[in-house]
């Protein structure tokens, strides 16, 4: 089917997130306003105004009532999804890079960038049921990894926190004590900055994408390397299909390396790989800048991509997609 082009952002996209039911799509961009769309027809429902910097990441609660957003304005904000009202603001002294609700939505894990002498941190905040009771106290603060932590997510049963970032090492932390439990070694791990991390629906495994032109699939309990998908371009965004054994990987040449002659030179397609066989299935063209964000609809029948070009492209799969034989 023809993709739906969603033009609502004025700056490059940074993150995409579907609600659990798959009816809403939240998008974050370097302009300051996260936006919510109908995931079916791409109609814009509304924006969340209040941030004063690029918004790097967001997450939505399981009941689709709360949205949490992390921004370069050194704050993480909690929103009412339906009305767009700001419920609470967590302030930090450096930009917030990633946010993720725990199972049960009572906790949120936030990463902050190294900034003005402050090291990067992973912080856990408790989310109160009633916004009036909300405090800004951190339940847990983890410091240690060098450089930016691009993504931190909850492991199975909120027992662990999995982080990845500029030092190209994936780490699993104990979510109670903040102790380092596991980390990837040089041989199996990524060689360059890890740009993205995506959990499977049951949190049993996750996919990471890196500037070393590869994406890797890991077991989230043992941190065993399961698969490697070799690309010919730096990877900015990854997503796992909840329905089929597919993964989608996006990225592109960095702007400095892009020639002006031909759009193909940039390799801005989203590439589909068979999750188990690691073979390329196909590609979806369209963006004219690197892909920064990818997300599958929870029903696995559509996916959306956000690019450096400022567009969100919403793709509903054709029936043939579901009968691809490898």
């Amino acid at each position: 089917m023809r993709p739906i082009l969603m033009k609502g952002h004025e700056r490059p996209l940074t993150f995409l997130k579907y609600s659990r039911e798959g009816d809403l799509l939240f998008s974050c961009a370097k302009d300051h306003t996260p936006t919510v769309w109908f995931a079916d027809d791409g109609e814009r429902l509304g924006t969340y105004r209040g941030h004063n910097g690029a918004v790097w990441c967001c997450d939505v609660s399981r009941d689709s009532t709360r949205l949490v957003t992390g921004s370069a304005d050194q704050s993480v904000k909690l929103w009412d999804v339906q009305t767009g009202t700001q419920l609470y603001t967590f302030n930090f002294n450096s930009p917030a890079r990633s946010v993720d609700f725990s199972v049960g939505d009572k906790l949120v894990v936030i990463t902050t960038d190294p900034f003005m002498g402050n090291p990067s941190t992973i912080q856990v905040k408790r989310i109160a049921r009633d916004p009036a009771d909300q405090t800004s106290d951190s339940v847990l603060t983890i410091k240690g990894p060098q450089g930016r932590i691009n993504r931190a997510v909850w492991g199975p049963l909120n027992k662990t926190i999995i982080s990845a970032g500029e030092d190209s090492i994936i780490r699993i932390w104990d979510a109670e004590t903040g102790n380092l439990l596991k980390e990837t070694d040089k041989e199996s791990g990524h060689q360059k900055t890890i740009s993205s991390l995506c959990m499977s629906a049951d949190k049993s495994h996750f996919l990471t994408g890196s500037a070393d032109k590869s994406a890797k699939l890991w077991d989230s309990r043992s941190l065993t390397l399961l698969k490697t998908y070799q690309m010919d371009r730096p990877v900015n965004a990854v997503a796992i299909s909840p329905l089929l054994d597919h993964v989608v990987i996006g990225g592109g040449q960095e702007a400095v390396n892009v020639t002006m002659t031909d759009r193909r030179a940039g390799k801005f397609e989203a590439k589909f790989y068979h999750k188990i066989l690691q073979d390329e299935i196909g590609g979806v063209k369209g963006h004219f800048g690197p892909i920064n964000a990818l997300a599958f609809n929870p029903d696995g029948r559509s996916f959306s991509s956000g690019g450096e070009d400022g567009y969100v492209r919403l793709h509903h799969f054709d029936p043939e997609y579901f009968s691809i034989r490898m």
């Binding site: 049951d202 309990r221 193909r264």
Partner: protein, 718 residues
């Protein structure tokens, strides 16, 4: 590591006996006491020792000794000094106080020699070259030596001892790669700092590694014309490698700062070239050319001079020399080599390494020449002179003897380019002529039939005379040629044959393909097939064309492709993107009919080169017979192909099954965890009942047919 060194298990045993835990030792940090290698030879040690003894800076490299000066009394001392200063002041700058003429303290007469110190060693060398043998007068002929050399000469033993005759050692089997059972071809690639050699295993659709080495060469690698050697280029000189099982160094050719190398077509000689920045920016570059015998590694002749001596002819221009300087002639026997000079062509013979007939071949204003690839025939081009009063001229000259076989005068010519057929049968001369207004040019071809009596010449003009010629190429082993011509963004491609019309053969056009995205022609070395390639602006469009049947076999694209090369048998085509671009680096291998077999991406990809093969030993009749009975021979190979492809698909199936099974064990484990943790998860969600994670949700697509009656009315059909 040398054979004398311990093997790894031995080392481990020894360490155990001594009670050392090897895993705690960082081998890279161990530094041997200087001067002691404990009997372990490094790979490159012999290079260090054998290579031209490194220049020890004795500090006298810039000093020369001039002998055979007149012996003079103190009265004439100043005058002689003045003369010497005058002579040597021309070649370089003499250091202050750098001229010293010793005097015999008893007689107060000079001793007949002096020392001169220059600013640089290079100036000293030049002074030595220029003035050694200089005649001051009849009885005083200078003998000039480098000061550093004196010691060496002193050490020459007075008595001659016969050179030790080494026992004969059987050489390596240099042509072993030709005996490959699967008749595969090799190629070399250079990416990053690694040089690798592979078999092109098209049946397995992948390259099969043969040998690889890091930092093998300082700049590039090059196969010799018959594929026997691989040459590497280093700061100290060139080296050639080859052999049966792996690549061993066969010879080294010392030549400091070597920049270019060139093999003679018959692999008898190697030419190396270097140029040196002058110390005085007003001077020209100094050029050194060495010609080595490839079989023995001996230096046969060297040429030295300023770059101007080697760039005449005009085509080189300011940019420097046009490589190769020496062009080889006389077919595969490498009988002659020649270079162009001002108003002359210098032809040398390889028997003696001196000029043929001891003098150069004078041709006024000659600007270009080329050898026939098979015979000792030179083709020369002399441009128009005197504003058109003297026509331009192309002539064919037989060597030795310098007999002019054929000559053709051409009028109002702006430029000429010569294309020899690889069999030496034809010569095409592309002639750009001025139109009457002299404002633009048009192009025609003069076609020489070398092997026919009196060498008939035919003139060929394109259907549209004004078309620009973009590319021209002869069919190897054939009688056809292809031309890309046209002005627009999509030029035409035409094919011509030299053999039509019975006994008195005429050139005729076979076909013209209109509006092709092509700007380069690549004939298969076996003829018949050609790749029309659109490089650069066309972004790598490829068309595989069969000229026998005049039909396109396939089209393809290798995006941003920069280089195309057929394998020496004409079975495969390699297309490569080298690191002129940052991106897409790597190469693709295609079958002759345009099927993409495999692609290998490589970052920082510099070079792809097929290993050439020597010409077939089969006679043309025998080849003919084989191609007639091809079906008989091909059966065996087809069966082999089938076996391989069956084995491959079986392998593939097995691999897939293994992957699938492995994955299933993981998912089973995850499912189990998921079930076990269900209760805990419910607690975390405050007992929210539904546990669907999105993925478990079962959608069911049902097709529902609904009928609705919109309207009913009756009509009578007659």
């Amino acid at each position: 590591m040398a054979a004398a060194a311990l093997s790894m298990p031995e080392i481990e045993n020894k360490a155990m006996n001594l009670g050392i835990d090897l895993s705690t030792i960082d081998f890279d940090n161990i530094v041997l006491p200087p001067g002691d290698d404990f009997g372990i030879n490094s790979d490159d040690e012999d290079i260090l020792h054998e290579e031209e003894a490194p220049e020890f800076e004795t500090g006298y490299g810039n000093v020369i000794v001039v002998d055979n000066l007149p012996v003079v009394s103190p009265e004439k001392f100043a005058k002689l000094e003045g003369v010497i200063r005058k002579i040597y002041g021309q070649t370089g700058v003499i250091k202050e106080g750098g001229l010293w003429m010793p005097v015999n303290p008893d007689t107060n007469m000079t001793l007949g020699y002096c020392f001169i110190e220059f600013n640089t060693a290079q100036e000293a060398k030049e002074a030595k070259e220029k003035t050694d043998g200089y005649k001051l007068d009849k009885s005083h002929i200078f003998v000039v030596d480098m000061f550093d050399d004196i010691d060496r000469y002193m050490n020459v033993p007075d008595e001659w001892t016969p050179a030790e005759i080494k026992p004969y050692e059987a050489g390596d089997h240099l042509q072993h790669w030709l005996t490959d059972e699967k008749a595969r071809d090799q190629f070399v690639i250079r990416a990053g700092t690694v040089t690798e050699i592979f078999w092109n295993d098209a049946r397995q659709v992948r390259p099969d590694p043969v040998y690889q080495r890091q930092y093998w060469t300082d700049s590039f690698v090059q196969w010799s014309p018959l594929g026997t050697y691989l040459a590497t280029v280093h700061r100290q000189g060139a080296a050639v490698w080859g052999g049966k099982s792996t690549f061993n160094r066969i010879h080294r050719f010392p030549h400091n700062q070597v920049k270019h190398i060139d093999f003679s077509p018959g692999e008898r000689f190697l030419v190396t070239y270097s140029s040196q920045e002058p110390s005085n920016p007003r001077d020209t570059h100094r050029v050194v050319l060495n010609i080595f015998d490839l079989g023995t590694g001996k230096l046969m002749r060297d040429f030295k001079g300023s770059v101007d001596d080697f760039t005449t002819g005009g085509s080189g221009g300011l940019s420097g020399i046009s490589w190769p300087i020496f062009k080889w002639g006389g077919g595969k026997e490498d009988k002659y080599f020649a270079r162009i000079g001002k108003n002359a062509i210098y032809v040398y013979e390889t028997e003696t390494f001196i000029l043929v007939d001891k003098k150069s071949y004078k041709v006024d204003n000659v600007v270009d020449f080329s050898w026939s690839p098979t015979d000792s025939i030179l083709a020369l081009f002399v441009p128009e002179l005197g504003g058109g009063n003297q026509p331009a001229r192309v002539s064919l000259v037989q060597m030795p003897g310098k007999v002019e076989l054929r000559q053709k005068n051409l009028f109002s010519v702006s430029d000429c380019k010569m294309y020899w057929h690889s069999n030496g049968e034809y010569l095409a001369v592309k002639v750009d002529r001025y139109t009457k207004t002299k404002k633009s040019t048009y192009t025609g071809f003069e076609l020489f039939r070398i092997k026919e009596r009196d060498i008939p010449i035919e003139v060929l003009e394109l259907d549209n005379k004004n078309d620009k010629i973009i590319a021209f190429a002869w069919e190897p082993k054939g009688h056809r040629f292809a031309v890309i011509h046209g002005d627009g963004p999509r030029p035409d491609v035409s094919f011509y044959s030299m053999k039509t019309g019975g006994i008195t053969a005429r050139v005729s056009k076979l076909t013209t393909l209109k509006a092709k995205q092509a700007n380069a022609l690549y004939w298969s070395p076996a003829g018949r097939f050609i790749v029309l390639a659109g490089l650069k602006g066309f972004n790598g469009q490829l068309e595989f064309y069969n000229v026998d049947d005049l039909e396109t076999m396939a089209t393809g694209e290798h995006f941003m492709c920069t280089d195309i090369e057929w394998d020496p048998t004409g079975r495969y085509v390699a297309t490569a993107v080298t690191s002129v671009h940052e991106m897409e680096n790597g190469f693709h291998i295609w079958s002759f009919n345009g099927k993409l077999l495999y692609r290998i991406p490589k970052d920082h990809f510099f070079q792809f080169q097929w290993r050439p093969r020597p010409p077939s030993l089969l006679s043309p009749e025998k080849e003919e017979e084989i191609s007639r009975n091809l079906r008989k021979y091909s059966k065996k190979y087809e069966a082999e192909d089938q076996d391989v492809s069956l084995a491959l698909s079986e392998q593939d199936r097995k691999k897939r099954r293994a992957l699938q099974e492995e994955w299933e064990t993981w998912t089973a484990r995850w499912k189990q965890y998921h079930e076990e943790e269900r209760e805990l998860r419910l607690q975390l969600r405050d007992g929210e009942a539904s546990d669907d994670e999105g993925s478990q949700e079962q959608y069911e697509a049902k097709e529902v047919e609904a009928e609705e009656v919109l309207d009913v009315h009756e009509e009578i059909v007659d």
